[in-house]
Symmetry: C2
Subunit: 136 residues, 2 copies
């Protein structure tokens, strides 16, 4: 299960993708259209900006917008920023790897299986982009 925060983040990105190229979008507008608590959304968008997924403009006429074309950013990148590792255990993670203290990875049956699920998820999340989040 992903956190509410990740869900909201992805929804917001889908909304911004649909409006890509049309200038900054107000936080309030995203919050209202996607039914996300505005102050919570604030923290999410800020985090996405700090990681170069979004850019923003302050003051009147300001708002948030995608930093690059929605087809350029993979969902794997977004997922890692908001949610963290894609793998089910740290010892199987590519970007957040941590050695397993209590088992030998070379001989671990669980390890081999989780590598498979990791790769299956990666294959999808690396291919899909923010553009795919746009609602029909």
């Amino acid at each position: 299960m992903i956190s509410q925060k990740t869900k909201y983040g992805l929804k917001a990105l889908g909304y911004l993708a649909a409006l890509y190229g049309k200038g900054p979008v107000l936080i309030a507008e995203i919050a209202q259209k996607k039914k996300i608590p505005i102050k919570f959304l604030e923290t999410i968008l800020l985090q996405l900006k700090q990681n170069q997924i979004l850019d923003s403009k302050k003051g009147k006429g300001g708002g948030y917008f995608l930093m690059s074309s929605p087809k350029k950013t993979s969902l794997a990148a977004v997922y890692r920023i908001i949610e963290g590792p894609i793998a089910m255990l740290p010892c199987v993670s590519l970007n957040f790897y941590q050695r397993c203290k209590d088992c030998n990875e070379k001989h671990c049956g669980l390890n081999k299986i989780l590598i498979q699920t990791r790769d299956a998820n990666l294959k999808i999340l690396e291919k899909k982009t923010i553009y795919d989040l746009i609602d029909e």
Copy 2:
């Protein structure tokens, strides 16, 4: 990421799979070999017993053992018992489905993507069994 509890549960099942058919195994033995806190392991094994994955025998010579052949039980079944839904959101779950209050699933871009990851994970977890958890 899966919880420590799920990780321990799977490790324990792998150990029991290797000893399948050789009679009950002591909790203390599993705990020591797999480096799991014994009292924590107790609760996990109990939960697996209550869900017909394990069976146990009390008294001298007692212990825990797999209820059926390790190749008969899928990891998907075990995962759902200890960890819960395999899907990333309730609105995409087969066994723990909950309608999305704030969006229309038919038109949700996120929904379509998460169905794909769910199916990819299911394909692996339904096929793999407790037998595959045995360490080399």
